[in-house]
C-alpha cells in the first residue's frame, strides 16, 4: 500500500525539474520506502493518512473521482494545498513530498547537475587527513 502510494504521488509532487535528469521511479520508490521505514513508527501511518486526505481533498476540489484526475489536475491540487495558510492542509503535500524529493535530489546525476559533485568532494576530503596532532602541519597531497 505504501509502495503504491509513493509511486502514485511521485510524478505529482516531483514536478518536472528543468534541465535535470528524468525521475527513476523504481530506484526512487525503493529509497523512499526505506526512508519511511527508518523513521519513527508513527511516520508510516501518518504518511498513509496524508495520502488519503490528499485524495479526498482532490475529489472535493476537482469534483471528479481520484482515478479520473489527470497529472495536471493532481498537480493543481498539490499547488492549491501548498498555498493554504492552514498548517494542517499545507502539511499534507509537504509530508508526502519529503521522501519523494529526497529520493530524487540525492541521486548522483541530479546533484552533479546542480554543481554538487559528491564523488569529487569525497576524493578531495580523502587527500587530507586531519589529525589532532598539534605539532605537525596538516597532511596535504
Amino acid at each position: 500500500m505504501l509502495e503504491k502510494t509513493v509511486r502514485e504521488f511521485m510524478p505529482v509532487l516531483l514536478g518536472t525539474p528543468e534541465g535535470l535528469p528524468d525521475p527513476d521511479i523504481e530506484g526512487q520508490t525503493r529509497f523512499a520506502l526505506e526512508y519511511l521505514s527508518a523513521g519513527a513508527k508513527e511516520f508510516k501511518p501518518v504518511y498513509l493518512i496524508a495520502a488519503a486526505s490528499f485524495k479526498v481533498l482532490a475529489v472535493l476540489l476537482k469534483r471528479k473521482p481520484w482515478s479520473m484526475l489527470t497529472i495536471e489536475e493532481k498537480d493543481y491540487v498539490a499547488n492549491k494545498l501548498f498555498s493554504y495558510s492552514n498548517p494542517l492542509l499545507r502539511s499534507i503535500p509537504l509530508l508526502l513530498a519529503m521522501p519523494i524529493l529526497a529520493s530524487y535530489y540525492r541521486r548522483e546525476e541530479v546533484q552533479m547537475a546542480l554543481g554538487f559533485d559528491a564523488k569529487a568532494l569525497k576524493a578531495d576530503a580523502e587527500l587530507r587527513t586531519v589529525t589532532r596532532d598539534r605539532d605537525l602541519p596538516p597532511k596535504c597531497k
Partner: protein, 528 residues
C-alpha cells in the same frame, strides 16, 4: 588504554550471554555531555564505561550522501517532530559523539547575561562565571576552537556579511571547533575529513586512550538503585542499522551519569519513575526555534562550497534573536523548499544561486516530552505569541540583509509572504501581523531544559552540581539541566557544564571509596 566496542568487535550477532560490567562510573551517552566527562574522569584514574545508543562511524565512512547519513546518524532518521502549530522538526544525533557529530561546529560561550539570569533568577549562585570561563578555555584549547577562516567560509557567508555590513549590523565569522577545515559544507552529515572536532574524533578517542571503555549500539532501559542511591544500569544491545536485538548488558557502578540529551534523559527517568518528586522531569522543553530565508542571487553562490555555518549577526542577542548562515546540500534543501514555495522544481534548478540564512530565537515558549509506547515518545511544543512576533522580526531582518547583499528575491517559510521580490514586499511583511500558523518548516536543533537545574527540589530536578535531588549518585550532564534556553549554539556550554559536573563526580567517587573502605562494602555487594 580502554576500547571502543562496536557490535562487530564484540561479535554480538553470535552472543546471547548477558554482558556483566563494573566500573567506578557509567555514563549514558557519548555526546557533548558525556564525552568530556568520560575523558576527565578517566584522566583522574577512575574506571569509566560509556554506553551509547547509536552506532560508531569512523570519519572515512562519511560519504557526502547526506540523506543516508541522516538515516544512520539521526534519531528516528531525522524524523523527530514536536507536535504543535506549527509542527517543529527536532533533529537529534544518535551515534558515537551524539549531536556533536551532526552539528555545524559552532562553538560559542553562553552569553554572560544568561548565566547571570540563572545565578539570580534560578538560584544558581554557585555557578561562578570566572570558574566557567576556565572550563570554556580548556575546551576551546582541546577542540582547536577558532574563528572560521574567511578563505573557506564560502560565498553564502561572504554575501551575508556584506549585506549586514551595508546595514551597519554587528556580526562576523563564528568560532568553530574545527582544525584545518576545508569547508566541505556537510558538517551536519558527519565531517568527511575529521576536521570538525566532534566528540567522536576528540574527547571519546582521547578518553579511550586514558582507559575509558565505550560501548556503541547499547540502549539503557533501567537505572538500578539501592537504598536511594544509583548503583548501576541495565539495558541491551541493538544494532543501529538492522535493529537486531543483541544480548542484555548490566553495569554496576558507584556513580551513574545520564548524558542522553534533552529527550533521552527525561524519558529514562520517567520510565524508571525516578528523580521526579518535583514533577518537573520532561517539562520546560526548549529548542531554539529556527526558520530560514533563502536569498536568490543573479551570481553563482554555490552554497555547498564552504563551511556549513560560518557567519552570524549578533546585534540582536538582547532581542533574543540570532542570525546565522547555513548551507544545505541539494537533497536536504529540496525537502524544505516546498514549504517556501509551490514552484519547488524551478527553485531547485536555481540551487547554485541560492543562499540560506537561519533565524534562531532564544525562546520563552516551553514544551514537554512524554514517553510513548514501545520505547517511543512524544514531544509537544507550542510557540507563544511573543516568540511569533520575534520570529517575524528575525525573518524581516534576515530578508533585509539578503536584499542589501544583492538578492533578487527572497523566499521565506511564512505563508502569505513566501516570496519577497522587492523592498515593497518586505514592507508589507513588516506591517502585517502574523500568526504561528503561518510558519512552515520550523526546526529546533538545540533541545534543552527537561531536567532543569535549580536550588529548590520542589521546582527542579538536579542541584547545581548536576546530582539529582532525589537519587544520590545519579548525575545528569547534558542540556536537559539548563533552566532556560541560552540563545546561542549550546555544545560548548554543555561541555563546560560536563567538566564542572565531572569535578563533583570525582569528589563523589573519592568519597564512595572512603565509605566502602570504612564499611567494607563494595558495589557488587550493594547490587547483590
Amino acid at each position: 588504554m580502554g576500547t571502543l566496542h562496536t557490535w562487530e568487535n564484540l561479535e554480538l550477532t553470535r552472543r546471547s550471554k548477558p554482558l556483566e560490567l563494573s566500573a567506578d562510573v557509567v555514563i549514558i551517552g557519548s555526546g557533548a555531555g558525556g564525552a568530556p566527562m568520560a575523558h576527565e574522569l578517566a584522566s583522574e584514574g577512575h574506571s569509566v564505561v560509556v554506553l551509547e545508543q547509536g552506532g560508531y562511524f569512523p570519519t572515512e565512512s562519511f560519504q557526502f550522501d547526506c540523506t543516508e547519513s541522516v538515516r544512520q546518524l539521526y534519531l528516528n532518521s531525522g524524523l523527530t517532530f514536536a507536535i504543535g502549530v506549527p509542527t517543529v522538526l527536532c533533529p537529534v544525533g544518535k551515534t558515537v559523539g551524539g549531536t556533536t557529530t551532526i552539528n555545524q561546529g559552532t562553538a560559542l560561550r553562553i552569553p554572560r547575561q544568561v548565566l547571570q539570569e540563572w545565578r539570580v533568577g534560578d538560584g544558581l549562585k554557585e555557578i561562578d562565571p570566572e570558574e566557567m570561563s576556565l572550563y570554556y578555555t580548556a575546551i576551546e584549547e582541546f577542540l582547536f576552537v577558532k574563528k572560521a577562516d574567511p578563505e573557506v567560509a564560502g560565498n553564502n557567508a561572504r554575501k551575508f556579511l556584506e549585506g549586514a555590513g551595508r546595514l551597519g549590523l554587528q556580526g562576523g565569522y563564528l568560532p568553530r571547533n574545527a582544525k584545518d577545515c576545508e569547508g566541505y559544507g556537510v558538517c551536519s552529515f558527519g565531517c568527511p575529513s575529521g576536521a570538525k572536532q566532534s566528540m567522536n574524533v576528540s574527547y571519546i578517542p582521547e578518553a579511550v586512550k586514558k582507559g575509558a571503555d565505550v560501548y556503541a549500539d547499547c540502549k539503557v532501559t533501567r537505572i538500578l538503585t539501592e537504598n536511594g542511591r544509583a548503583v548501576g544500569v541495565e539495558g541491551f544491545f541493538k544494532k543501529h542499522d538492522t535493529r537486531q536485538k543483541g544480548p542484555a548488558v548490566r553495569v554496576s557502578a558507584k556513580v551513574v551519569v545520564l548524558a542522553g540529551g534533552t529527550i533521552g534523559t527525561p524519558l529514562l527517568l520517567l520510565r524508571n519513575k525516578l528523580a521526579n518528586s518535583s514533577g518537573e522531569v520532561g517539562w520546560n522543553y526548549r529548542l531554539h526555534p529556527v526558520t530560514q530565508v533563502i536569498p536568490i542571487f543573479d551570481e553563482r553562490i554555490d552554497p555547498h562550497k564552504g563551511i556549513s555555518q560560518s557567519a552570524w549577526v549578533d546585534e540582536f542577542l538582547a532581542e533574543r534573536i540570532s542570525l546565522e548562515t547555513t548551507v544545505l546540500p541539494p537533497d536536504m534543501l529540496a525537502m524544505a523548499i516546498p514549504a517556501a514555495c509551490d514552484n519547488h522544481s524551478e527553485v531547485m534548478s536555481l540551487y547554485p544561486y541560492t543562499g540560506l540564512i537561519g533565524c534562531m530565537l532564544r525562546e520563552t515558549s516551553k514544551g514537554r516530552i512524554v514517553p510513548g509506547p514501545r520505547h517511543g515518545f512524544y514531544v509537544f511544543y507550542q510557540i507563544n505569541w511573543e516568540d511569533v512576533r520575534r520570529m517575524k522580526l528575525a525573518n524581516v531582518i534576515a530578508s533585509e540583509i539578503a536584499f542589501a547583499a544583492g538578492a533578487k528575491r527572497v523566499l521565506t517559510f511564512m505563508a502569505g509572504h513566501n516570496e519577497l521580490r522587492s523592498l515593497q514586499d518586505l514592507k508589507r511583511l513588516k506591517s502585517e501581523k502574523v500568526s504561528s500558523r503561518q510558519f512552515m518548516a520550523m526546526s529546533g536543533w538545540h533541545p534543552m531544559g527537561t531536567c532543569r537545574m535549580g536550588d529548590d527540589p520542589e521546582t527542579s530536578v538536579v542541584r547545581h552540581t548536576g546530582e539529582t535531588w532525589d537519587v544520590e549518585n545519579l548525575f545528569i550532564s547534558d542540556a536537559s539541566v539548563f533552566p532556560t534556553s541560552i540563545g546561542v549554539n549550546p555544545q560548548l556550554t554543555i561541555m563546560a557544564f560536563s567538566l564542572r559536573c565531572a569535578g563533583f563526580v570525582d569528589e563523589k567517587l573519592v568519597g564512595e571509596t572512603d565509605r566502602q573502605e570504612q564499611t567494607g562494602t563494595g558495589i557488587s555487594t550493594a547490587i547483590a
